[in-house]
Amino acid sequence: MSFISYPFLVLFAVVWLACWLLPFRFVNPFLLLASYVFYGWWDWRFLALLGFSSVVDFICGKLLDGGVAEERRSDVLAVSVVVNLGILALFKYFDFFIDSFCEVVATVGIEMPPPLLRLVLPIGISFYTFQTLSYTIDIYRRKMSSTCRFLDFLLYVSFFPQLVAGPIERATSLLPQILTPRKFDWEQISSGCQLALVGFFKKMVIADNLAPFIESVYGNGGASNGLAVVLATYAFAIQIYCDFSGYTDIARGVARMIGFELCQNFNLPYFATNPSDFWRRWHISLSTWIRDYLYVPLGGNRGGRFRVIRNLIITMFLAGLWHGARWNFVIWGLYHGLLLGIFAVIHDIRVKKQGTTGSHPPEPKLNRVGFWLSVLGFFHLTCLGWLIFRAESFASIVKLLRSVLEVWHWSLLNIDPNFVVRLALLGIPLILFQCYQFKRGDHEPWVGWSLTTRVVFYVVLFYGIVLLGSPERHEFIYFQF
């Protein structure tokens, strides 16, 4: 079930009433049922997979928390990791690797038809796999205790607001909220409603209205003129941000209305001045997950410069692969790994020059001009990454880049004026509003506005969604991951 659907509005109305009218002992089972209905709406058969993954990790959690001898704990963790990543590999990566392998051996003259499984990818599998893995790893690391409440654990894995596209919640944050009775609070409900409204606006008005134009350029196999590619890439930067952060806002808003606080997933990412800053602002729940469970175990910032760069590239390669079984995601991950590596070297040199010491020396302060130049520069590096991310094949990446670089072939002709107008009308107010949020250092500045301003803001958002929401429904981009 998608957030952008009438069945969801009905389901949520029922859930909201149930959450605040039922005695607490019935609320979590009801939320679990609603979460399974929400997920099963797409394909009920994948509920078994979700349930299986949850059961395995519940049992592993119990065993890790005193259920087995100390020396067997790593075996139990290995079972959890192998089962979860095994399911993910089977459904998401098997065909990709087999196909790629067959293509490689074909280049040396060995022709073999790839034995593809052609399995349908269960929606949100990458998100709930990482979420449930964090539970067993945290217990293994003795950061938390296992829960003995099976239904509550099932709800932790399947909690519907964030099940299919995050944020990837840690058990240390979400499980205690599930176990504790929620308090009815009008202000919390009101702010959740506002946040969800902002999310719907970002998704339905901004992201969905830009989508057809971007598709017309990128879906063209890279055969567009360079200026169109540049505009479409700017538009895609806006689209993917509004699509994904819009989903997060809806998820956080909806969760807040029923008494839960989910983690922040975005922090004005296009105000990043460098790659490290970007990953502290973009898809925060994933970047912190890979930092804690991948980068740090690999060695993190410890060791020499080469070792750090190696760790960054491996981590970002896997982060790219997490997004999907396609080479452009892998290249995108490596690209960001490379940017992080280069930045680490530059940062190292600058810190040494300034004579700062410590394991995590602060990034040097930038003056105002330097800051905005860094923001602008890094935004364009991010856009180059988005071009790689959005392209449909490796050949397409090459064609798109070539058309951008051949500046002398850029032409205003053949660019749909509707595209330019829509990009300006949707992009400029968004940028201005983000500047305002950045200046105030507040993600929900409307909370502090005067009553009249707030009323106007809500009404404008509401009618924006009703009247300007794209007539074509575009699925959330991150659902495919």
């Binding site: 009438y6 959450c19 605040w20 009218l21 039922l22 005695p23 607490f24 609320v27 009775p181 929620r182 308090k183 009815f184 609070d185 009008w186 202000e187 409900i189 009101s190 409603c193 506002q194 209205n209 008494g259 749909d416 004026p417 509707n418 107008v421 829509r422 009308l425 009553l451 707030r454 009323v455 809500y458 009404v459 509401f462 009618y463 009703v466 009247l467 300007l468 929401g469 007539p471």
Partner: protein, 356 residues
């Protein structure tokens, strides 16, 4: 402990005492007032964008509909022979060939089968309002396309668009009616979505959309010019090589019978003779099952004809032609269309069917 708002838990009750969110509540009231007011507002609807969307080249079918509706809506003199019907007539009856045979004015108003007989009647009514009555109407149909059900026609929405176009061209349609019926509508404001999007996003007409070629059919402008220069006739450009025996289901659903009945009622009222002509079928479809189904269709048609004094079937025997005559199952190739036109014209002339 309970999470209920009716809980006796002190902490929960404490939370309940917090002030209600005035901003949100006032916004809800404002929306309610605006929605109530919008129930009484409407704005005229621009007919030209029904079949000529602003943001993409029109499809071939959209071009056909726009051209035929423009022809029906423009003021002029009625021809002696008016050709009405679906695309089998559009591409199977050449008025210039027929005119040469009968020595009378002939005009082809045929469009597509996806609007059903009631859509054809709506176009005919408008044509007669703007041109007056012809001496004879020839209703040309593809036997295989009489099978469409009421649901099929409703789902394709072409018929609904024809009604809307005709109403809008009279200034009687409003934005509210253009709202897509397949979308669940809750609020009165949703009726204005298209209009608001057009105005706020400054949707530009793209002249190049109407000049964009659509495969073998050429651009919208090229097609309009061709149809106008050929008195409403359009040449089929496809070349289908199908030769597999094929059983056709030709049974008419009740809705089609009723629509055809209503069309013939109208023709009775205006007192113009109408002759039904079935498009030839390809020889590869002449199977036992097709013939059985055809017998049933012809019985249905005869029963309808019996109720109308002005209506008759021009060719009681279904014609089957070699595959080479066909571009698609329902469309004749240009050479076969010329032959078909001569045959129909000769029957009209020979039978003395045109009253002076």
């Amino acid at each position: 402990m309970s999470s209920s708002i009716f809980s006796s838990d002190s902490a929960t009750r404490g939370a309940q005492r917090k002030p209600v969110p005035h901003g949100l509540l006032l916004a809800i009231v404002a929306v309610a007032v605006i929605e109530a007011a919008l129930c009484f507002v409407d704005i005229p609807f621009d007919a030209s964008r029904i079949f000529l969307p602003r943001d993409r080249p029109p499809t071939v079918v959209e071009t056909i509909m726009e051209t035929k509706l423009q022809a029906a809506n423009s003021i002029g003199n009625a021809p002696d022979v008016l050709l009405l019907g679906d695309s089998s007539g559009l591409m199977g009856l050449d008025p210039r060939v027929m005119s040469g045979r009968v020595g009378k004015d002939v005009f082809n108003l045929c469009s597509i089968s996806l609007i059903g007989a009631d859509g054809q009647r709506a176009i005919l009514e408008r044509y007669i309002r703007t041109h007056g009555r012809p001496s004879v109407i020839v209703y040309h149909y593809a036997p295989h396309d009489l099978r469409y059900t009421a649901d099929d026609l409703a789902n394709w929405k072409f018929r609904q668009s024809v009604y809307l176009w005709l109403a809008a061209s009279d200034g009687q349609a409003v934005e509210a009616e253009s709202y897509r019926r397949d979308e669940f509508r809750v609020l009165p404001s949703q009726r204005f979505r298209d209009a608001v999007q057009r105005r706020l996003f400054f949707v530009f007409d793209r002249p190049q959309n109407l000049n964009t070629p659509r495969g073998r059919f050429g651009s919208h402008h090229e097609m309009v010019e061709q149809v106008l220069n050929q008195d409403g006739f359009m040449q089929e450009v496809n070349e289908d090589e199908t030769d597999e025996p094929r059983d056709l289901n030709l049974a008419m659903p009740e809705s089609q019978e009723a629509a055809l009945d209503a069309l013939l009622d109208y023709v009775d009222r205006i007192g113009v003779p109408i002759f039904l002509v079935s498009n030839p079928l390809p020889a590869y479809a002449k199977t036992d099952a097709t013939l059985e189904s055809l017998r049933r269709q012809q019985q249905q048609l005869q029963q309808i004809m019996a109720r109308h004094e002005q209506a008759a079937i021009l060719l009681p025997e279904q014609r089957f032609l070699p595959r080479e005559s066909f571009a698609t199952l329902n469309h004749l190739r240009p050479s076969a269309a010329a032959q078909n036109s001569k045959e129909i014209a000769d029957l009209i002339k020979g039978g003395g069917l045109i009253h002076e």
